[in-house]
Amino acid sequence: MTSTAPQPTLSFPRETFAKLSPHPYLLAHLQPASAASTPTRANGRSPSQFRAPHVNNGSLTHAEGSTVVRIGDTTVVCGIRSEILLASDAAGYRVDNSPTTPFSPPNYNEAKELDLLVPNIELATGCSPAFLPGQPPSTLAQSLSTRIYSLLHSSSLVDGEDLRIWYQPPDLGGGGRMEEDEEDEALKPEVKAFWTLYIDILFISLDGNPFDAAWAAVVSALRDVRLPKAYWDADREMILCEDEVAQSKKLKLRGLPIAVTVLVFRAKEQKQGGDMKHWILVDPDTFEEGLCDESVTVVVDRSRRSTEILSISKTGGTIVGKDQMREIVDLAGMRWGQLSLPLLGG
């Protein structure tokens, strides 16, 4: 009778399991074997639980508006610098196109035509081992910048009037205002220059969901911007600004749009097969982003009581249908409530 020595059992720490077989690792969390434990994600959150946001405004000296947004381990710094674009230098500026004149074309977005808002996302700051400096912007960085740019203009967040610098030419004529000819063009106020806002978004640390954090940082920094009072000095023929805080103005923003990204995690790795078990994971981190293909981004605004949907974008799969979309929009509305507190309070 031979006695076999007991086989040593192979056991790894959790992190090793996560690296070796990530998909079964996450699936085991979401579909636990024992009925007693509640399904959670690998990071301990429930599938519909967001990470707590932290917003801090006004910390940078040289920026007109600045903010630091921290959502979990994703940290973003956004600084807004303003510079002056003279109307005479602006390519494509026509006085007739200005919305204040009676014959301006409809849907003319002056800020977009003249490139007055310039957002840029910089990922290559060493925020994650995948993004090291020394390379030109990756596809992800370029697509994020473009998404922020198009959302910024399509949401009409910034009022074009805030960016214009008007000049009222002084009435140098003497008396004799009786004739019609006196009322010449020179006395009407004209736009002499525009404010251009350079919105620079730097990622200090990235742990998934860069778009939501970047958009929240843009909105928060725009709320923090203080533009100095600017006027056209006719003697020096240049735009001068005043330093006093009392004469500066804040931007009038239209609403408070918030972006919410969710990913769809499938039970089986193959794409085919209908009626597959799936989970909708909100506010994903890097680990989950590597395992999911299908993503939905919804931009909502609830500053006027009802949930206004500014944008819905869905790519990567066919699992999300009308019912799931409704559920996602509800989750987005709930997240608006969570994020609006620090954004409005800061």
């Binding site: 940078l60 610098r81 510079e83 674009l85 030109p136 350079y198 620079d200 006093e244």
Partner: protein, 307 residues
């Protein structure tokens, strides 16, 4: 030039806003140094700001208070502090195409954020950033025990969120040399050292940076102004900076890994402005920042071991 991979501004080009106060140039608005010549600014140092990196650190030096002027001005015209963040990735294996190296290959990147200085910077690296990167690499190369990691590389990336200015904004357009860069380099060395320690890379000692300057401020009427040595200079607080020196110092071994001296030294007009005197004072300044560095690293170690 248009960068096709980024969103560009208006084609016509924009210019920074000119403030009427700048044209009036009221000298009473210049900030004045209130510290003693041998007192450093308060430093805030914290590690672990980027959890996905091997090691990271954040350094902040407080900004100097503006003088008591009548109306509070917009922040964009006041003097800035220093805000740096550093991430360390490594030791990682070198790519297969790289030749064999018996010691670790250190790569440093230093980058100003576009909103870091009064004049907006672009996204492409320019000469001053490359200069800072080379000095940082020199300072760190002597500290890391490279033989323990053959065929490996480590990347040290410093991002400058807010940098020092070279001169007071109201001084007019006379070109000052890059004095702000000296304080920035001293901060870079300290923060990189903290991040490397956070990453657990073996070093012979903890290196810290110290900077001093030989400044000449106008005294009251008539007297010939003489130069004095101040530690941790803020360039906008002084009328004229004659020379500046920065060292990267190892207190445990009493060694210096990097020295950079700029300006006029050794001239009899400025008192005892010899090279040795400047470096001795810079070493004292480095010892000051070393104290803060060690205290921050002790906290990190307690947290890591306690976990």
């Amino acid at each position: 030039m248009t960068d096709r991979r980024r969103i560009n501004g208006p084609l016509g080009g924009t210019s920074a806003p000119v403030f009427s106060k700048y044209l009036a140039r009221d000298a009473n608005d210049r900030p004045v140094r209130t510290r003693q010549p041998n007192v450093l600014r308060k430093m805030f140092l914290k590690t672990g700001v980027t959890p996905s990196a091997s090691g990271s650190a954040y350094l902040e030096l407080e900004a100097s208070r503006p003088p008591k002027s009548s109306t509070p001005g917009l922040a964009s015209l006041s003097t800035s502090g220093l805000k740096l963040t550093c991430t360390v990735h490594g030791p990682r294996p070198l790519p297969k195409s790289a030749p064999f190296s018996p010691h670790i290959i250190l790569t440093t990147h230093v980058k100003y954020a576009p909103f870091a200085t009064r004049k907006r910077r672009g996204y492409l690296r320019d000469a001053s950033e490359r200069d800072l990167g080379v000095h940082l690499e020199t300072a760190l190369r002597g500290v890391i025990i490279g033989d323990r990691w053959p065929k490996s590389g480590v990347e040290v990336i410093v991002t400058i969120l807010e940098g020092e200015e070279d001169q007071w904004w109201g001084s007019g357009s006379n070109k000052a040399a890059d004095w702000g860069m000296m304080s920035v380099l001293s901060g870079c060395i300290t923060v990189a050292s903290a991040a490397i320690a956070d990453a657990g890379i073996d070093c012979v000692d903890v290196v810290s940076g110290g900077v001093v300057a030989l400044v000449r401020d106008p005294l009251t009427s008539g007297k010939q102004s003489s130069a004095a040595i101040v530690m941790d200079p803020v360039p906008s607080e002084h009328e004229e900076i004659v020379a500046a020196c920065i060292v990267a110092y190892l207190p445990g071994r009493d060694e210096i890994t990097d020295i950079w001296v700029k300006g006029e030294i050794g001239s009899q007009d400025y008192g005892d402005s010899s090279y040795e005197n400047l470096t001795d004072n810079a070493v004292q300044a480095a010892l000051g920042s070393h104290r803060v560095l060690v205290a921050a690293l002790k906290e990190t170690a307690d947290m890591k071991i306690g976990r």
